[in-house]
């Protein structure tokens, strides 16, 4: 057992910390979130320079062979800086799908483009009726001479408005709620029949409804094995969840810092708020929640590497459920301790809170994962 980070890992985090301080201040971020495309292309190019976009890919794929712990450290900074670029969607989720399951041609074509910052991708999977169930896929892919024709509707696809390519899940066999019979396809943004209805999300991000109406894809657009898409999606989303957990920890530590600072400076009744024991204890609870969450985020990052799906799911789902609960506490209390200032758009605290809230609702909310975890107890 070893809980130390390597020199390289610390240096990576340091680079990002300095980047955020210098080039991603809160007011700049606010302006980015307000205008299209909702993030910074310059920042994206910087991430490519830093090697972030090549991080999780193997060396022979042109990557840096980073570990999930590296990704965790990056995602923590994404949280601290409230970075808006679709890193999680492109690199962590869609990237890992191509890395782990893509054909040689897909890997050769897509991974260098992602690593170089020229290509953005995202997974279009969830559907309106399915809530958070990964096996619910009603979108269909019907075989024809040239490949498949895909029809269906994907909801709240985060990162879709800027994606150049989608990885779309569709049913090639069995019924809407079966694990077997789901297949994954690479679909071009410009493919005839694919339409987007884009909108901002509550945390300043961008998402879209993705509608597919007889979208033709070729035989070589299939990712991995036919009908075996469920495991692939599950694994990619596990990576995504591990990333979100780390991001949440980044947001929570930032909230602790800003709230502590606020309590030390804001005076009422002739004393800094920090002198009131009721508030001190609240801060202590928030600090405990954040440390416990950090532990769970580490568990999730390490767990994400595991090939054994059962162990992996259990760790990941535990982390998402637990961090969801703690993030709720830290977010709500950070607002509360700021008083009226906490509910303004002006301070960053409400923006951190909104991001935390959205993290909780992404890739399965707290209750979904608590249920999934508690179901594993039945098996034991």
């Amino acid at each position: 057992m070893n809980f130390n980070y390597t020199e390289e890992q610390l240096a990576l985090q340091d680079t990002l910390r300095r980047f955020i301080a210098k080039d991603y201040g809160f007011e700049h971020r606010r302006a980015l979130a307000k205008a299209e495309p909702g993030f910074s292309r310059e920042a994206w190019a910087q991430y490519a320079d830093f090697g972030l976009l090549a991080l999780p890919f193997s060396e022979d794929q042109g990557g840096l062979a980073g570990t999930p712990i590296d990704t965790m450290l990056v995602m923590e900074m994404v949280g601290r800086g409230l970075l808006l670029e679709p890193y999680l969607q492109t690199v962590v989720v869609a990237g890992s799908l191509i890395r782990d399951y893509g054909t040689a041609t897909q890997q050769a074509e897509l991974i260098p483009a992602v690593a170089g910052g020229e290509l953005m991708m995202c997974l279009a999977h969830y559907e309106p009726e399915g809530r958070y169930d990964l096996h619910h896929v009603g979108t269909t892919a019907v075989r024809n001479a040239n490949g498949w024709k895909i029809s269906g509707h994907k909801c709240v696809v985060i990162g879709a408005p800027s994606a150049d390519k989608f990885i779309v899940s569709a049913r090639t066999s069995d019924g809407t709620r079966d694990e077997h019979g789901i297949s994954l396809f690479v679909v071009d943004r410009g493919a005839p029949g694919l339409t987007l209805r884009s909108y901002p999300t509550q945390d300043g991000g961008r998402a879209a409804e993705v509608h597919l109406d007889h979208v033709q894809v070729g035989t070589d657009d299939l990712v991995g094995e036919l009908n075996k898409g469920y495991v692939m999606v599950e694994r990619a989303i596990d990576f995504g969840i591990a990333g979100l957990c780390a991001e949440a920890v980044g947001v929570m530590s930032a909230l602790i810092e800003v709230t502590l600072e606020y309590l030390k400076t804001r005076k009422q009744f002739g004393a800094p708020l920090a002198k009131f024991q009721a508030l001190q204890h609240r801060m202590a609870d928030m600090a405990i929640a954040t440390e416990q969450s950090r532990s769970m985020a580490i568990l999730a990052a390490v767990g994400a590497k595991t090939d054994d799906a059962e162990t992996r799911n259990r760790d990941i789902t535990a982390a998402k459920a637990y961090i969801g609960q703690q993030a709720r506490l830290v977010g709500q209390q950070a607002i509360q301790l700021h008083g009226g200032m906490g509910v303004t758009d002006e301070l960053n605290v409400s923006h951190y809170f909104k991001r935390l809230t959205m993290i909780c609702a992404t890739f399965g909310d707290t209750d979904h994962h608590l249920g999934r975890f508690s179901a594993t107890l039945m098996a034991a």
Partner: protein, 402 residues
């Protein structure tokens, strides 16, 4: 002990319900049920309708034109109005400044202001908090200097709810810096059209404009607009804080929102069934309902004891704490019920006239638009009106004797 409504009370409820049913404009109740943004005109229109019926000021005694209802009747009225989707009767005029004017104002002030509050001629807002004085209100600094037959007011108020629509503001101002802080405060009524007043919007975390900064620069206020005596304003303000009881728990509105939450949970799907059949979620709904059941009775107990003319007590703090927590839980669960559709920020969906394009409207539930924003916005309920921490301090001191 009897928890049943008497036949007269049931009769009263039926009468109230009938009236609301036939007089509450459908376009207004649709907004309330849909969580849409209400315009000033919506509040004013409903207030005028109630006034016309003689119900404009449910909590006022007869001598000032109120219906003279007891606490239980007021509770029934609130419940029926909320359930039907009537806009809330804003408290600033009716429940905040009016009781102060009735109790400490002079005849001239009563004759002029009270009827105008009741018929919605004047829109009132509250000017207590300042940037440096929130929980510690008594430290307020906005100055009023007596110069002949008027005061000259300088300073800044903040967090002022809906002051952008207001005709009048009631303010706590400092008229003396001698002695205890509390002893140098006066209660002034100020016409918002007076030169030197500037209202600046504060945008809240949900993107909405419902609060403001109000700046005063050499604002001349006639001395007739002083309530009671100079330097006694703190006493009047404390009277006011203890007085506003019936509405504080928000039981009627929470009942309506609970009903809505259940409807949403039935319409959302999870695991191939309705979300309501998901036991984990249903238990959360059940838990809020338990809290609300307890609060309803606590509320009735507190307001009935007030009716028996016991002094307003610190029990109001219990109502404030529980009422606000329940409102927050309800908004949180409504958002949570949406799943993925809690994420989109479709600010335009707050407009009653919003028609979603089919790309989104075919999938995005028609009730979804405002819910996440409400959850964010409702963080305010544990902060305003005396934060919940301050309410707990009051309970410790006044009820527990700590």
């Amino acid at each position: 002990m009897d928890l049943d409504y008497t036949p007269e009370e049931q009769q009263f409820r039926a009468e109230v319900r009938d009236f609301i049913h036939s007089h509450l404009p459908k376009e207004i109740s649709a907004k309330v049920h849909g969580g849409k943004r209400l315009a000033k005109e919506d509040f004013v229109r409903w207030q005028k309708i109630l006034h016309h019926k003689g119900w404009g000021a449910p909590s006022w005694p007869r001598q000032f034109g109120g219906p003279g209802w007891n606490a239980v009747q007021q509770h029934i009225f609130d419940e029926e109005c909320s359930d039907a989707g009537a806009p809330m009767q804003l408290p600033f005029g009716l429940k905040m400044v009016a009781p102060v004017i009735m109790t400490f104002g002079n005849k001239g002030q009563q004759d002029y202001f009270l009827p105008r509050i009741m018929d919605a001629t004047d829109w009132w807002c509250q000017g207590y908090s300042e940037p440096g004085s929130g929980s510690d209100l008594a430290s307020l600094k906005t100055r009023a200097e007596r110069q002949g037959d008027h005061y000259v007011v300088n300073g800044q108020k903040t967090w002022n709810t809906l002051g952008q629509h207001a005709d009048w503001i009631f303010c706590l101002v400092r008229t003396s810096t001698e002695g205890r802080q509390q002893e140098g405060i006066s209660f002034l009524l100020i016409d918002m059209k007076t030169p030197g007043i500037t209202v600046r919007p504060i945008i809240m975390l949900d993107g909405e404009h419902e609060i403001n900064e109000v700046w005063f620069e050499d604002v001349k206020v006639p001395v007739e607009n002083l309530i009671g005596q100079e330097n006694k304003g703190w006493t009047y303000a404390k009277f006011l804080l203890g007085h506003e009881r019936t509405g504080i728990a928000g039981v009627g509105r929470s009942k309506r929102e609970l009903k809505k939450l259940k409807e949403i949970a039935h319409r959302q799907t999870a695991g191939g069934h309705s979300l309501m059949s998901d036991q984990r979620f249903r238990d959360r709904v059940a838990q809020v309902e338990l809290e609300l059941m307890a609060l309803e009775i606590t509320n009735l107990r507190v307001i009935s004891s007030e009716h028996e003319k016991k002094a307003p007590g610190p029990e109001a703090s219990i109502l404030k704490i529980k009422g606000s927590e329940i409102q927050q839980m309800l908004t949180e669960l409504q958002m949570q019920a949406l799943g993925h559709y809690g994420l989109p920020y479709l600010h335009e969906s707050l407009d009653a006239t919003w028609e979603p394009d089919p790309m989104i409207g075919d999938y995005y539930p028609d009730y979804a638009g405002p819910l996440t924003g409400h959850y964010f916005n409702y963080r305010k309920t544990t902060i305003y009106g005396g934060s919940n921490e301050i309410q707990k301090n009051i309970i410790c001191q006044m009820i527990l004797g700590l």
